[in-house]
């Protein structure tokens, strides 16, 4: 391709009918005049013909239609959604999980304070969370590690599909009740 040739992406767009009217005229005129660009254009056309060969589709299985209609009919027969229906729990799952995380964070921080012996009103939040390397306190390090894990899991709140199926009780880490002790 020469310096005055059109971009390869535009030749592709021409071959795939993705150009706007004016752009199509310009690129088309260049491709007709330029052997090198015409060759690129033809290679996209050949690729398109090759892709035509992939035809895995066929008739659906004999029971497909019946199964689909039965599923839709069952859906149609369901009563209107109530307050506690899945659609409501879907909306409530995120705030509920956020509240749960907040409570767990507070419990962890309080535990860290108690283990630290610093009690109420001592130091900054950063000081409470950070594990002191020479303190040698395993529970304190574990609490800090659990809190860090919770922060790392915060993006889960953006996954509404996952939250819709979130079961608070079953998802609680084993032994988490000990945190409240």
């Amino acid at each position: 391709m020469r310096n005055n040739c059109v971009e390869r992406e535009k030749i592709f767009a021409l071959a795939q009918h993705l150009c706007s009217g004016r752009e199509e005229q310009e690129v088309s005129a260049h491709v007709e005049a330029c052997e090198s660009c015409r060759s690129v254009f033809q290679s996209y056309q050949r690729l398109d013909s090759v892709l035509d060969e992939w035809a895995p589709t066929g008739e659906p299985s004999p029971w497909f239609d019946a199964r689909l209609r039965a599923a839709v009919a069952a859906q149609a027969a369901r009563p209107a959604p109530s307050f506690w229906s899945p659609s409501w729990s879907r909306w409530m799952a995120a705030p509920a999980l956020a509240a749960l995380l907040l409570v767990a964070t507070v419990v962890v921080i309080r535990n860290a304070r108690v283990a630290d012996g610093s009690g109420a009103g001592s130091g900054s939040h950063g000081a409470m969370v950070a594990a002191k390397p020479n303190a040698g306190s395993a529970p304190q390090a574990q609490a800090a590690s659990q809190e860090l894990k919770m922060y790392q899991n915060l993006p889960v709140l953006e996954d509404y599909d996952m939250l819709a199926d979130f079961d608070v009780i079953s998802e609680l880490p084993k032994g988490s009740h000990k945190l409240a002790d």
């Binding site: 060969e53 589709t57 497909f64 689909l68």
Partner: protein, 195 residues
């Protein structure tokens, strides 16, 4: 008698007309199924996912807003479901895969780039078709969806932008990058070899 548009039918469905829904289902079930067959390459799974799409359409009938073409909405639901199914299958395979041994090149992802063909596929496919399928399967998931929608479902690129929630120029760019990869991977076929 005038043929009802998809939007008219869906508007009726949102008012509780199940006959209109049956008509929509009849009109679009084959195209949605063939989209899934290409996306997930497992006919049984494709049929399950097609069913899920229409159930979701039905469940969302009262919230439906006719501000875009019905097929844009339909393919958006189908694409989300397909991409989730592909990701689920990848995570299952990663969980099942053995730990890489010392001296192995690359991780699990490099060693299992795609799934093995089913017995049905092996019987039906020619070598050329297998190469094409593997080349398309090897594309990043959004490029794959864009190529299948554009090439096989014949969805207009403006509509693909609506399906993938990206700009029209982003769709052109996705398709260009996908075709560039395919051109390299399918070089022997494009040059006329491997008959």
């Amino acid at each position: 008698m005038a043929i009802d548009s998809d939007l008219e039918l869906m508007t009726r469905v949102s008012r509780g007309d199940t006959d209109s829904f049956a008509l929509l289902l009849q009109r679009h079930r084959s195209s949605v199924l063939s989209y899934f067959v290409r996306m997930v390459r497992d006919r049984g799974l494709a049929e399950d996912l097609t069913q899920e799409v229409f159930l979701r359409v039905y469940q969302a009938r009262e919230r439906y807003q006719p501000d875009a073409r019905f097929t844009t909405w339909l393919y958006r639901i189908a694409t989300n479901i397909a991409l989730n199914a592909i990701r689920d299958r990848k995570s299952e395979k990663l969980a099942d895969a053995p730990e890489p041994r010392d001296g192995d090149e690359g991780g699990v992802l490099e060693r299992t780039p795609d799934e093995r063909p089913t017995a049905e596929q092996q019987m039906m496919e020619s070598d050329r078709q297998r190469l094409i399928r593997e080349a398309i399967d090897g594309l990043p998931e959004r490029q794959k969806a864009a190529v299948i929608l554009h090439k096989y479902q014949e969805v207009d690129y403006r509509q693909i932008a609506g399906v993938l929630k990206v700009s029209e120029s982003a769709v052109k760019s996705l398709l260009f990058r996908a075709y560039e990869s395919l051109r390299v991977r399918l070089e022997p076929l494009v040059q006329g070899g491997l008959v």
